[in-house]
Amino acid sequence: MSMENMRQPIESGCPDGFQYMHPVMRRNYGLWKYHEHPRPGVLRHVAYSGDEIWTVKAGTQRILDLYTLRKLTEIGDKYGEGYVRFTLRSNIEYMVADKNKVEPLIKALEEAGFVVGGTANSVTTLSHTQGWLHCDIPGTDASGVVKAMMDELIDEFRNCRMPNRVHITTSCCQINCGGQGDIAINVQHTKPPKINHDQVANVCERPAVVARCPVAAIRPAMVNGKPSLEVDEKKCICCGACYPPCPPMQINDAEHTKLAIWVGGNHSNARGKPTFQKLVAAGIPNNPPRWPEATAIVKRILKAYQENAKDWERINDWIERIGWPRFFELTNLPFTKYHVDNWRGARNSLNASTHIRF
């Protein structure tokens, strides 16, 4: 097609959200008074005007096929009021003004195989990335890990039995697009990239790759008479940052790409300031199709948290109160030299006091 026949884009950017908002929400925008949580998966918000809106939240498979999406909209038309939204963790929320629609809506969702819950102090859906289904640099799958884990955590999604809410994330490479979480399951490579020296010169912009390395372990080199790159394997931290700009530096490995588990990431300012997650377990096999080893550790951590934390303590609050030695004891996870930070600012993570729990 010649250029003049091409359609010019309409650069409308982000659309107006009010047009898709339930009329009760539009009318009471910024005028909400309080909310209640009558049962897991259901919220009742009351406005100063006296209006109320009911929300039913459900977990889905996130990668929606047309049939599933149309099932969700059909339920919204038949049992809801035609207005939905999606949460950050890809749960769908149906908003209705009529309280009597709540129970039939829940029933319809559950009959169609969706899972109602995920509110308040539950374990909500794992937020995840694209993985083998669509990413160009994944060390593992994402949707599959989440499916396998949610199969085992489904009762904690349906109920609110945790001390506070639990956000779990997964990431399929060390860039960690999944973000921070109370528990994060992330890829952890354990060996330096394997370089295909025949391809580097053709595929990679070498200075950009050198600049990408966080520890300056990559330098230009002639290999077999061809311009390529070499890695100082002693310096290399196996992060995989060189792989996206230079695919011939293959970091993913069927055997040596492992999973690691991190805990205590908390975005909220409630009680303490927001916190980053900390490494607790590594060397976990990347074991499709159901990753049982990773799930087992997550369940162990959740159990210790559930049994030992006080109401309203997020995982980071709980560990701050009981201390890390006790955390490792309660979860029966080994504390190793790899847990001691040596990255920039690491000194701040060392105990420079006599505050020791016995």
């Binding site: 959200g17 049939y67 499916k147």
Partner: protein
């Protein structure tokens, strides 16, 4: 139905168990969809995914695909094993910007589904980690057709690559009593000011706006956005003492002491003998904990505004960074207020575009050059709210002290005069 269905013994395992299965969903497209383009694509996609499960490797590579007039917004994917799985050899994702708060009517979702059925694989995610609707899987040619169709009824591409990215906002004022911000207006004002920077990647790296209505920060703005706008208030929190008494009658005094007053990070709450609560509002840091526990009794104040933090990001390359407070409080009510917000964003992006290294996030640049240089670059005065504590190392030249101290007193005097009207 597609011929020669690939065996998928490992993926089949993911059809077991009670959680909804994405594999069953893709199989429905393969087995039930009448259009050969879709059912064959689903079959080969499953074949490639099974191959990934068996070999523990990914087989997609990137490339360059966009729509006419734009430079980004598409995640191009070409299969490295296209010989074995030719029908899904091009499997690009379109990133489409959702409205703030991710609201949809079912009618609109159906319309989007119909368009995607016409041009794509039939797989959609609400939403990706940056916040886009992800229309997963189509050919280079159909990328343009699908975009043309949905662009005609109000949808535009989001960011991909080194550009301003799609924004993210919490449900906010639309439904949440905690919100102190107008997420809808903030989100659209900022994102649509930078439409050009969304569509044509030309910045050092990605730049993300995220908006949370209150300090619970449900969109993780501080942790994962370059420019976090968080709703807050600066007058006293509102206490409905009758609702406090009702809460105590139901839960008991001990519950309130254990779960509310003693959890206050600044010890600014007192539970009185008559079952009322007193708050030392000057020491309240708006952490939200007590409001979260007692949403019926405690509410944000009336003098609402936002706190802005700049420089948050995930691991690559220097490690995770939280955003830093740049504006402790600003009102967002009048057009002038919004102009100031936009100006701050413009100054930040301009300064970073000028001074950031290739592939360096704004927060990494600040880390490299120091906060003070950044503040001077964007024309913002230093403020003690920006730090956890003042400098602790004595190795610092202070020969401009008198001038700087004078600036501070001058500023304080002006603020006083302004407050006095």
């Amino acid at each position: 139905m597609a011929k020669d269905i690939h065996e998928t013994p490992m993926l089949d395992e993911l059809e077991n168990g009670p959680w909804p299965s994405f594999i069953s969903g893709i199989k429905r497209l393969r087995d039930q969809h009448p259009d050969e383009r879709i059912n064959k694509m689903a079959n080969d996609l499953l074949g490639q995914l099974e191959h990934s499960y068996e070999t523990r490797k990914g087989y997609w590579k990137g490339g360059t695909v966009s729509v006419f007039g734009y430079g980004g917004g598409i995640i191009p994917r070409f299969s490295e094993v296209a010989d074995a799985f030719p029908e899904s050899k091009e499997f690009h994702t379109l990133r489409v910007q959702p409205p703030a708060g991710n609201f949809y009517t079912t009618d609109m979702l159906n319309q989007l589904a119909d368009s995607w059925e016409k041009w794509g694989s039939g797989l959609i995610t609400f939403h990706g980690q940056t916040g886009n609707i992800m229309f997963i899987g189509t050919t280079t040619e159909n990328t343009q057709h699908f975009f043309d169709e949905i662009n005609d009824y109000g949808w535009d591409l989001g960011g991909a690559g080194p550009c301003v990215r799609t924004g993210m906002s919490c449900v906010g004022s639309a439904r949440c009593e905690m919100s102190c911000a107008n997420e809808q207006t903030i989100h659209r004002t900022l994102l649509n000011r930078f439409t050009d920077d969304v569509h044509r990647p030309a910045l050092p790296y990605k730049f993300k706006f995220k908006i949370s209505g209150c300090p619970n920060d449900c969109v993780n703005a501080i942790e994962r956005s370059d420019f976090a706008i968080i709703g807050t208030w600066r007058d006293n929190m509102k206490i409905d003492q009758d609702a406090v008494k009702e809460f105590i009658a139901k839960k008991g005094r001990e519950y309130v002491i254990e779960n509310v007053t003693s959890r206050c990070p600044t010890n600014c709450m007192t539970l009185n003998d008559d079952d009322t609560l007193t708050v030392d509002d000057h020491n309240c840091v708006r952490c939200m904990h007590c409001l979260n526990v007692m949403p019926k009794a405690l509410h944000p104040g009336d003098d609402k505004g936002v706190t802005i933090l700049i420089g948050g990001k995930r691991t690559l390359k220097i490690g995770d960074l939280m955003g830093t407070v740049i504006v402790p409080f600003m009102k967002l009510e009048t057009q002038e207020d919004y102009d100031r917000l936009v100006e701050l964003a413009e100054n930040t992006i301009d300064f970073w575009a000028e001074n950031g290294l290739e592939h360096e996030r704004c927060g990494e640049m600040i880390e490299r050059i120091g906060l003070v240089n950044f503040l001077e670059g964007i024309g913002v005065d230093v403020d003690p709210h920006m730090v956890s504590h003042p400098r602790q190392c004595s190795y610092i030249r202070t020969d401009g002290w008198d001038e700087e101290a004078e600036k501070w007193y001058q500023r304080k005097m002006e603020e006083k005069q302004q407050a006095a009207g």
